[in-house]
């Protein structure tokens, strides 16, 4: 893994992979999580704010990565803060991704138990998810990018048709009043929405494999905007048609919202089949990335082969995923991960960027690469 990776992700695919990585659990729970904390229907404004902050984080990650072209965070952190501290940072990210992927396996199992298989033991669904997930992940990053591209159009079509089909239930009144208590409460509950945006820090890893990584700002802006738009529409539609009070009481508000679609014509009556399918696909795309990054970090840190690491992580993930006793504990884990993802995407990259600028650390061949491209 010492040699430079060959960039293969086009900017267009970067956008898609970025979006599919971020959209995961959040789309099902965001209206409740944000609504509970905020207490006013202004959740959609908060989503926009979160989107802006996420974009800030993306920018930080982007500038940090571009100081070390064709290298991931796992490679270059030791150059900024030294070998030991670098290993600690790598380890933090690995643990974050491990917990995140285990959490995904658990959440999907909970949702599946709630909506599809109420008799099947949760252990079966967790294990099935992990095993299916690890199969693709052994294909490496190219396979992950491809499958994201594969699922993305399906996701878009389904999400937007949900919005269209539910149009008649939407009442603008449910979103009023706008900013009843001024902008201050918005700022105080930003942290809770941030968990839906966790995953933006994948830029730190993907950019090493991206063609023309220097021009990645626009595709990433587009990606962040797309995520924000999808979340905003979801939140607006859910709260607009279910009211905030009801949303707060529902575990999976978006699912309930989809369930109430009453569109004439047999199968569209039960649109949740389509929705849960694409939601699971998106859970997979998020899981692929997190599992890959966790095992990639481990394989770099200890010099092990990546495939055995991936396979070896399955039992570990299974244990972590089985740790929470009930849904409440899962949700607590989710809040915790929301906080750690702020560190992963904003605080650590920010500090690293600051240090690398301060100490003048950058990759030697960055200038060469730049000169080579211009020449």
């Amino acid at each position: 893994m010492g040699s430079l990776p060959i960039p293969f992700i086009s900017t267009y695919h970067l956008t898609i992979t970025f979006v599919s990585t971020i959209i995961g659990v959040g789309i099902l729970t965001l209206p409740r999580v944000a609504g509970e904390k905020l207490g006013t229907p202004d959740v959609w404004i908060e989503v926009i704010l979160s989107g802006i902050i996420s974009f800030l984080a993306v920018c930080i990650c982007l500038y940090l990565s571009n100081r070390f072209p064709q290298e991931t965070l796992y490679h270059y952190n030791k150059r900024i803060v030294g070998k030991i501290l670098g290993a600690v940072i790598s380890l933090l990210y690995i643990v974050h991704y491990l917990f995140y992927s285990a959490y995904e396996a658990r959440v999907q199992a909970e949702a599946v138990r709630h909506y599809l298989l109420d008799q099947t033991p949760i252990e079966v669904t967790i294990l099935a998810f992990l095993l299916v997930g690890v199969y693709l992940t052994t294909g490496g990053l190219p396979a992950i990018v491809r499958i994201s591209v594969f699922y993305f159009p399906i996701t878009l079509v389904i999400i937007f048709s949900i919005v269209l089909l539910n149009w008649q239930n939407f009442k603008l009144d449910n979103l009023r009043p706008v900013m009843e208590f001024g902008p201050l409460p918005l700022a105080s509950s930003l942290l809770s929405t941030s968990q839906a945006f966790s995953g933006v820090e994948v830029v730190l890893f993907f950019l090493a494999y991206t063609k023309e990584a220097r021009k990645a700002l626009r595709p990433l802006l587009l990606g962040t905007a797309l995520v924000t738009l999808i979340y905003m529409i979801t939140v607006m539609m859910v709260i607009g048609s279910l009211t905030l009070e009801e949303t707060k009481t529902l575990t999976w508000p978006t699912m309930e919202f989809v369930k109430q679609i009453e569109f004439p014509g047999a199968f569209f009556e039960h649109f949740e089949i389509f929705f849960i399918s694409i939601w699971l696909l998106n859970m997979f795309t998020t899981f692929f990335v997190d599992l890959y990054l966790a095992s990639f970090g481990i394989s770099l840190l200890f010099g092990w082969n990546i495939r055995p690491v991936m396979l070896g992580l399955v039992p570990v993930l299974y244990v972590i995923a089985s740790l929470p006793k009930d849904l409440n504990e899962v949700m607590r884990l989710s809040n915790l991960l929301g906080t750690t993802s702020v560190f992963a995407s904003l605080v650590i990259p920010g500090v690293l960027l600051f240090l690398s600028v301060l100490l003048g650390k950058r990759n030697d061949n960055s200038r060469m690469a730049k000169a080579g491209k211009e020449g």
Binding site: G139, V149, F150, S277
Partner: protein, 508 residues
């Protein structure tokens, strides 16, 4: 090489008797080996014509070859009163000017020529043989391919004869860049295989890779091109066909023009095309002959057929046995009503009908055509009807299975149809264990497998899920040709990217 151990001297000598014995030994004294003595008139010397009965064109042999021999060699009389050996040399020189005739002393080559239906002439006191090309081109005349029928398109297909097939391609593409590279595969069968491509269009690395893989094949006899396919494919344990096979020269033509490589083999009308991606297997040559709007509709229909063939029975199983709540209420009631009295679980019910259909299909293929139809009627109507009346399966199950069967006939390539058939059963089992969730898991597995699959360096899911270039023009819709044919597919990395509209551009 393999028979070298038996004969004492593997060289041709001046003794014609020894030479005759040598050839007879090398060919195992086969009953179809003919030694025809041609006595030289004045002397008691002789020449011997050796050939394999049935392989040679007797008429040509007698009319032309013997005529040459008798006029130049046998005739001792008249002005031909030169010494014998001089006359032999003269004959060899004279005969070598003939088309498909040459002189050789190599025994292995002689054996190979004999096996190809050529005749060799052994001459007394001469340590060599004259070979005449007398092989009989016994091939059926090209007819419309059975396995890939089209409404519109050329009514011609490949035949078993390789020369005929290469000629067929040459007649279709009159470009000097059309290249045939020949090699022999099989230690015993020794089948000639031709790599066919358009120089200057195809990516040379691809041709090199094809050649490398073909050369690496080490088997006794590739009986059909399926053997070669099995040896050169990337993933042997995948359910998907990674190499396209076709009987249609026009399909090969289209592939060559896209920058792909075709492999034609002696003895089979099925040629192989590499690389291939899954969306390519969903295309039919006819797509490009008809107008683009109806074609687009047909293509969407084909993907719908793919969805039905893959998911319909498993969706039925999942919805009926796990998620009745997800069905529209009226439909749920009518399904429940129709399933009343059916003693089996849905999976078993579906399996009964699916297996019956598969049996019918298999039987229909094996039986002669008129009988096959009768079996179809008996199977489809009688069994379906009576199974429902007997209460073994529900009528809706019969509808589901029939729709699935019809859908699986809608694929333009048989190889895809059988892959999907297999995957359908996997889906059905998954659906019976984990319901809709199982279906989604298998879907993720299949798509994961697809994006991990490569066919000669091209990703199997390209251009749908490609990291290089997403092309919508020839995927679900078939864009009008003036848009479609601007460039060759990017995933093939061909040398010459432009296909049309060159006159509008500045010369390159």
């Amino acid at each position: 090489m393999m028979r070298s151990s038996q004969s004492p001297s593997k060289e041709l000598t001046t003794s014609v008797g020894h030479n005759q014995q040598l050839l007879a030994e090398l060919l195992g004294n086969s009953s179809d080996l003919v030694f025809q003595e041609l006595p030289l008139a004045a002397s008691n010397r002789k020449a011997i014509a050796v050939y394999l009965k049935g392989l040679v064109d007797q008429k040509f042999l007698f009319n032309r070859v013997y005529e040459v021999i008798s006029s130049q060699l046998l005739n001792d009389a008249g002005e031909n009163q030169r010494p014998y050996l001089e006359r032999v040399n003269w004959f060899v020189q004279y005969a070598s000017t003939f088309a498909q005739a040459f002189h050789t002393t190599n025994v292995e080559q002689i054996i190979s020529e004999l096996l190809h239906g050529n005749t060799c002439i052994l001459i007394e006191e001469h340590a060599g043989a004259m070979v005449f090309g007398t092989s009989k081109e016994k091939s059926r005349s090209p007819e419309e391919p059975q396995s890939e029928a089209l409404v519109r398109g050329p009514r011609i297909g490949f035949v078993e004869d390789l020369t005929e097939n290469t000629a067929l391609m040459r007649r279709r593409i009159k470009d000097p860049h059309l290249t045939f590279d020949s090699l022999i595969i099989g230690r015993r069968g020794r089948k000639e295989v031709v790599i066919c491509y358009l120089r200057g269009v195809v990516n040379p690395d691809l041709v090199e890779e094809v050649r490398r893989r073909l050369k690496a094949i080490d088997i006794d006899d590739p009986i059909e091109s399926g053997y070669i396919e099995n040896y050169i494919q990337d993933h042997k344990y995948s359910p998907f066909p990674q190499i396209q096979n076709t009987e249609r020269p026009d399909r090969v033509e289209g592939a060559l023009l896209e920058g792909r490589v075709a492999i034609l083999m002696e003895g089979t009308p099925f040629s192989l095309i590499v690389p291939v991606t899954f969306p390519m297997l969903m295309q039919s040559p006819e797509d490009y002959y008809e107008r683009w709007i109806p074609t687009t509709l047909i293509r969407v229909l084909r993907y719908l057929a793919l969805f039905f063939a893959l998911f319909l029975p498993s969706l039925y199983i999942a919805l009926v046995s796990y998620h009745q709540g997800l069905l529209p209420t009226k439909l749920a009631i009518s399904i429940a009503g129709s399933r009343e009295g059916v003693p089996f679980p849905t999976l078993f019910e579906a399996l009964i009908m699916e297996v019956t259909i598969e049996l019918l299909r298999e039987a229909g293929v094996r039986l002669p055509k008129p009988v096959g139809q009768a079996v179809g009627i008996v199977g489809g109507l009688v069994i379906g009807q009576s199974a429902v009346e007997a209460g073994i399966v529900s009528p809706i199950m019969v509808i589901v299975v029939s729709l699935t069967a019809i859908s699986s006939f809608a694929f333009p390539q048989y190889a895809v149809a059988i892959s999907i058939r297999l995957l359908r059963f996997v889906m059905m089992f998954a659906a019976s264990v984990l319901g809709l969730y199982g279906i989604i898991l298998i879907f993720v597995l299949i798509t994961s497998h697809m994006v991990k699959l490569y066919s000669f360096g091209v990703n199997y899911a390209a251009p749908y899920a490609s990291t290089q270039h997403f092309s919508w023009k020839d995927l679900f819709i078939r864009a009008p040709l003036h848009l479609l044919l601007k460039h060759r597919p990017a995933m093939l990395k061909s040398l010459d990217r432009t296909r049309s509209g060159l006159s509008k551009k500045k010369g390159d």
